[in-house]
């Protein structure tokens, strides 16, 4: 009996250690990134063009590029994803076809981003003639996040209890009234949470945009969505691996990483806050 208690204590300690591992990992990562990048962050850094081979100046065009890429991706993917999820959950009759779609959506959510890049290059850049451009990259990212948005929106819709729908239908509401008044208001936060998380993943994606429209350096901001653009992840990648004077450009890399992390984490934070707020608000 005694030995058993000791043994269990050892096991609990090991389990605790694995929890600690996560904390340490994050702490180390953040420590390096913060200590490398915090000194670089300044108003000038955020609002100026890079100069002198990216050793000085700022990263404004990359920030702007990443943000506009996000916006465009969202404009394409969000309505498409959310409305198709509504169709699939609330309207589609189950059957082989719906099942196949469900399966496809579910499994495509796990397909590597590089494959989407490949398709984006072949399809949008070349076949559709959109060229290396913001819109090609946004379309590529949009089809990449589409399955994720659909899947998480479906989940949010399903989380609305059936008895709410039944309650509304029993009062003589039409299907759309039921969906619009009684399902969407409660599912929307969940749908948005999933979508924001998906988009924040897209914000950090590098591989697909290398192939579809990101440029390392541009002398001016893009003037339309058919121009190339600069983006934080691509700049980080290139500067980290190609720069002839790695020591001199490293602060810029750290600074860019910090900014990218902030953008992504802010999106995550918003998603988490939205979710927690509504989780507390609607407990079925």
């Amino acid at each position: 009996m005694k030995w058993k208690t000791i043994k269990e204590h050892i096991i609990y300690s090991l389990l605790r250690l694995s929890g600690l591992f996560i904390v340490c990992t994050l702490a180390i990562l953040l420590f390096y990134i913060l200590s490398g990048g915090i000194g670089k962050i300044s108003w000038e850094f955020l609002t100026n063009f890079p100069t002198n081979g990216m050793m000085s100046g700022g990263i404004f065009p990359m920030i702007l590029g990443t943000l506009s890429l996000m916006t465009l991706t969202m404009l394409i993917a969000l309505p498409l994803g959310i409305f198709s999820a509504i169709y699939l959950v609330e309207y589609a009759k189950p059957g082989r076809f719906t099942n196949a779609i469900r399966l496809a959506v579910h499994n495509l959510a796990g397909v590597p981003s590089i494959v989407y890049g490949l398709v984006g290059l072949g399809l949008f850049v070349v076949f559709l003639g959109l060229g290396l451009s913001l819109v090609s990259a946004a379309l590529t990212l949009a089809i990449m996040v589409l399955p994720i948005i659909i899947a998480s929106s479906q989940e949010a819709l399903r989380a609305v209890p059936q008895n709410i729908r039944e309650g509304a239908l029993a009062l003589g509401s039409t299907k759309w009234e039921t969906t619009c008044h009684h399902v969407l208001p409660y599912a929307l936060p969940g749908m948005l949470t999933g979508s924001i998380l998906a988009l924040s993943r897209a914000a950090g994606e590098t591989a697909p945009i290398i192939m579809t429209g990101a440029a390392f350096y541009m002398t001016h901001l893009p003037s339309s969505i058919f121009d190339e653009f600069m983006a934080l992840p691509y700049s980080i990648y290139t500067l980290a691996t190609q720069s002839s004077n790695a020591e001199a450009t490293r602060p810029t890399v750290f600074g860019a990483i910090l900014v990218l992390l902030l953008i992504v984490l802010c999106m995550n934070l918003v998603a988490i806050i939205v979710r927690n707020y509504y989780r507390r608000k609607y407990r079925w």
Binding site: K4, E8, L15, R16, L17, S18, G19, F21, I22, T25, L26, I33, P79, L80, F83, S84, I86, Y91, I101, L103, V105, H106, N107, L108, G110, V111, S113, I114, V115, G117, L118, V119, G122, V126, I143, L146, P147, I150, T174, E177, L197, S200, A203, G204, E205, T206, A207, P233, I236, Y237, A240, T241, V253, I257, L260, L261, V264, L265, M267, N268
Partner: protein
């Protein structure tokens, strides 16, 4: 339905509602169909661009050849084996590291940790999951690789192990959060039943909770693996990218994803090399699709159980 808009009167309210209902149904169907078409296009396009490569007669060599050297001035060779092996070993390494830590951590979170600790740890895990892969890659490139080099005194800083460790850290959030869900969805009655038999908490976790959540945990691991297989930037920056057949975790390796990322830019459209990369894409797609499919199945079985 025959319907004249101009004769609509107030008392036709009911008709308007029904009309609206039908219109919206059609619009939504349109959206659903568009999304589906999008998704189908991906598949079709991938196949159109990749299949010619198999048909051109290099198909067999593709799967059996052990040399990948498409830009050789002598004889370009397209053997996918080194990259399949690279992907396999790097992923395996990541599994070995991430699975014990991941399961341990999820048990800790779900069953042992004080609710307050759980509530602080979960956002941390979510933050880890949200960090872009290029950041992990950068970390591997400049910091982790130096540590590995110092510690193992390896011949090269950028090697499979560096990649595996980084991938493990990227897999952990997926494994932990999904397994924690699985463990927490084991019904309370099940735990009570075990406790009521006079079993200790650890006996309950080990003998009842974990076995009951096993398919959920398995699915979590499989999904983590799918993520690792498909990860590009991190391995591109961390593993050194030599397309060799080697079983030494301290040697440089190249994965399928890295191959596409490295070479896609250099190929003239329509060339054999171009199609060969789509062929790699198809293989990668097939592997992740199958892995996800299995995870989906396992997960479904898990859900059905309760």
């Amino acid at each position: 339905m025959k319907f004249d808009l101009f004769t609509l009167k107030k008392y036709d309210y009911k008709k308007i509602r029904n009309l609206k209902d039908n219109a919206i149904r059609k619009i939504l169907f349109g959206f659903g169909a568009t999304a589906v078409i999008f998704i189908i296009i991906i598949l079709v396009f991938l196949l159109i661009e990749g299949l010619p490569f198999f048909l051109e007669g290099d198909g067999i060599d593709f799967f059996t050849g052990d040399v990948w050297d498409p830009s050789s001035p002598n004889t370009p060779r397209y053997g996918i084996l080194p990259m399949v092996l690279g992907t396999f070993l790097v992923t395996l390494g990541a599994i070995v590291i991430a699975v014990p830590i991941g399961i341990g951590c999820s048990i800790y979170l779900a069953e042992i940790a004080h609710p307050k600790i759980r509530e602080t740890l979960k956002p941390i895990i979510e933050i880890l999951a949200g960090i872009p892969s290029v950041v992990y890659g950068f970390f591997a490139l400049i910091i982790l690789s130096t540590w590995i080099d110092d510690f193992f005194n390896s011949t090269t800083k950028l090697n499979a192990l560096t990649g595996s460790i980084m991938l493990a850290i990227m897999m952990l959030p997926i494994i932990i959060s999904l397994s924690e869900d699985a463990i927490r969805s084991v019904p309370q009655e099940m735990k009570e039943a075990s406790l009521a038999l006079g079993l200790s908490k650890w006996d309950t976790i080990r003998g009842v909770v974990v076995p009951a959540a096993l398919s959920g945990i398995t699915a979590a691991i499989i999904l983590g693996v799918a993520r690792a297989i498909g990860e590009t930037m991190t391995v591109l920056m961390a593993t050194g990218n030599a397309p060799v057949i080697s079983f030494d975790m301290l040697s440089s390796m190249r994965t399928m994803t890295a191959t596409i990322a490295i070479e896609m830019g250099e190929v003239p459209f329509g060339s054999t090399h171009y199609h060969s990369l789509f062929a790699v894409g198809i293989v990668l797609f097939a592997i992740t699709f199958i892995v996800n499919f299995i995870a989906d199945r396992v997960m479904k079985r898990f859900r059905e159980k309760y």
